[in-house]
Subunit: 379 residues, 2 copies
């Protein structure tokens, strides 16, 4: 297929930054929320080093927004998630899980509260727009649910703060972790938040006018290039180091928050109702039979991320599967996220993994494998 075309008609959407990413060297795309996302600029390891040493600009327009407005917007939004939103201020963001009636995870978006009755869910890869519209039909709540013209970029890495200062002035340095602010750049309307998917210092820049994608990308790169900014893409290496989830890989509709060790995102004591409350109470009370763990896999460095779910064995018993695995050049280890039977989840447990090159030993390990903030604190 031709690079410029990405080939199969108009069925998959192009981001407002699509042409810009091609100009700046994008070599391969994946598809996420029915849209192309650049996932290769030639060398994923170099992209990782650019992210952890400098800063990268990534097209994540695939993070589609579900906008919830109307008099009952706050009540409806709380209904969508087990996380307690009662103390969420306008200006704040929260990482939330969306669960169905069985307590299964449908998505793990970042929620932004733009106003008392105005919310955005910045999505992982599933049509929560349909879930929310479906829920609303018989809910008796007065809400409007739609996808606005909003396309995020991620500006991530230790130098991202300096790039942001150069773009927006000193005042942006006050923006706190998981808060957002309304900004503009040469008249281009934006929301800027201190969030990301890298475990590094980072920002998301939400373009609110799809016709200005080229202008915004070029403006950021022109300002950032002298400060060390590179074009890039979300880094599998860094996000596995950080123990961050990739929806469909590490979690799906049949995964519950407790299996992921994300009980902190579930408040069963709050009065408000949310979808999945009864099921999650049952799960909490009976306990989970499997748990997500970190694994360090023995052997030669993996060539790239696993593209199959690798079976995990203990002796002759199939005890689970590896969901995401990659070689970290910084840790010089093959690191992975895996879902295994609860009795095999203890740190230090020795297991075997069937990788593409055969059966290999592995050890259950603490995650996140690498925590930039702990490193910074120790420095």
């Amino acid at each position: 297929m031709q690079l410029q075309d990405y080939g199969f008609g108009t069925q998959i959407r192009k981001s407002p930054f699509f042409d810009a990413t091609l100009r700046w060297g994008a070599k391969g795309f994946s598809v996420y929320n029915h849209m192309y996302i650049p996932r290769d600029f030639g060398d994923p390891v170099q992209n990782f080093w650019n992210l952890v040493n400098d800063a990268i600009l990534c097209d994540v327009a695939v993070e589609r927004q579900v906008e919830i407005t109307g008099p009952d917007a706050a009540r409806f939004t709380q209904m969508l998630t087990p996380r307690n939103l009662s103390n969420m201020a306008v200006g704040q963001c929260k990482y939330v899980l969306i669960t169905n009636a069985e307590g299964g995870i449908l998505n793990d978006p970042v929620l932004l509260r733009l106003g008392e009755t105005h919310f955005w869910l910045s999505l992982a890869d599933s049509d929560i727009l349909l879930w929310a519209q479906g829920l609303a039909v018989h809910s008796g709540l007065d809400v409007t649910i739609r996808e606005p013209d909003v396309s995020p970029l991620q500006l991530q890495g230790p130098k991202s703060g300096e790039v942001m200062r150069a773009l927006f002035g000193d005042s942006i340095m006050d923006l706190r972790y998981y808060w957002w602010r309304e900004m503009d750049l040469d008249g281009i309307p934006l929301i800027v938040s201190r969030t990301g998917w890298s475990s590094e210092l980072g920002y998301e820049i939400y373009l609110r006018d799809g016709s200005r994608g080229n202008a915004l990308w070029e403006r950021i790169m022109a300002t950032g290039l002298p400060l060390g900014l590179k074009p890039g893409h979300t880094s599998t290496i860094r996000r596995v180091e950080g123990g961050m989830l990739s929806y469909h890989a590490d979690a799906d509709m049949h995964t519950n928050p407790y299996e992921l060790g994300l009980g902190r995102l579930v408040d069963l004591e709050m009065e408000a109702e949310f979808i999945g409350k009864a099921a999650l109470r049952r799960i909490r009370d009976t306990g989970v039979t499997r748990k997500q763990v970190g694994l360090v896999i023995d052997g030669a460095p993996l060539d790239g991320p696993n593209t199959r779910f690798w079976t995990v064995w203990h002796g002759g018993t199939d005890v689970g599967h590896v969901t995401s695995a990659v070689h970290s050049p910084r840790l010089d280890r093959n690191i992975a996220l895996a879902m295994v039977g609860a009795e095999w989840a203890e740190i230090g447990t020795r297991l075997e993994v069937v990788t593409d090159s055969g059966m290999t030993g592995a050890t259950v390990a603490e995650k996140p494998f690498f925590d930039a903030r702990k490193q910074l604190a120790a420095a």
Copy 2:
């Protein structure tokens, strides 16, 4: 990215037929319902001729099934679609639209009635599983909604009947258009229907055990090869000739059935309620402001399908956009589907289209551009 890997981790699912399609020559994949679909076996024009002259086997496991069961399954399924299902027999299939409360199209699946209270929606590309589960929460209806382990193949083309006879015996020749039957092949559990996405004689073979994908593919190819069967993929050329929709390209949440000329799939007179009834009544009464049309585009043969929505002009006025365009080698014409202002929709209207190679003339034309059944009747 490596062909074997399709490379960005486990976030995109592989079909049970993925390895088989690689072995049989798949060269490029797209993504549909969070899953890889082969869309290139080297030459899309040859694939078209294979389809219209012989028969092709296509991996369409991406057509995920939404299964609706439970005492209220029939009532709930009717709620999902404006098409009147009151006379739908067990054993029948129907092409239906799924609409939201605004009458916008969320999907255009084939519905199978497997039992009095047992339905499958065989999906186009959107998470109707989430829409249906969301709707069910406050519906007061007793239904179970899940994605079963079902992965369809399409066996399409004039020789598909002979291949089916060789696989399943003479009795399969009685299977009527848009009916299904439960079958097995070497013990592999299947549903077989006379449906497809090609406007040719064709069948869909729904594998009901994902672990048997290789066995099923090889069995069908071994039987079919001497009868002219080729491995292939859904053909953009043939489906545009047939005027068939590709969801996200030719229709989306902001498209209503009347704009597509699909009023026959909406029954506003039936007593049963369905989502979107009030909105669709309003739209029918006021009329639509834009309509889907067929276009024949002047100039040299297009290289491949359009990958952007091309603007359609009349004189100096922007009157709409081309959604799907391709060169038909059989008709020796560039044919397209377009959404244009209702006043420009009359057959014979001359318009201009901005293709990748500049402004070109175009004429509104009758669709389907090619109807195999009319040809057969005339022969």
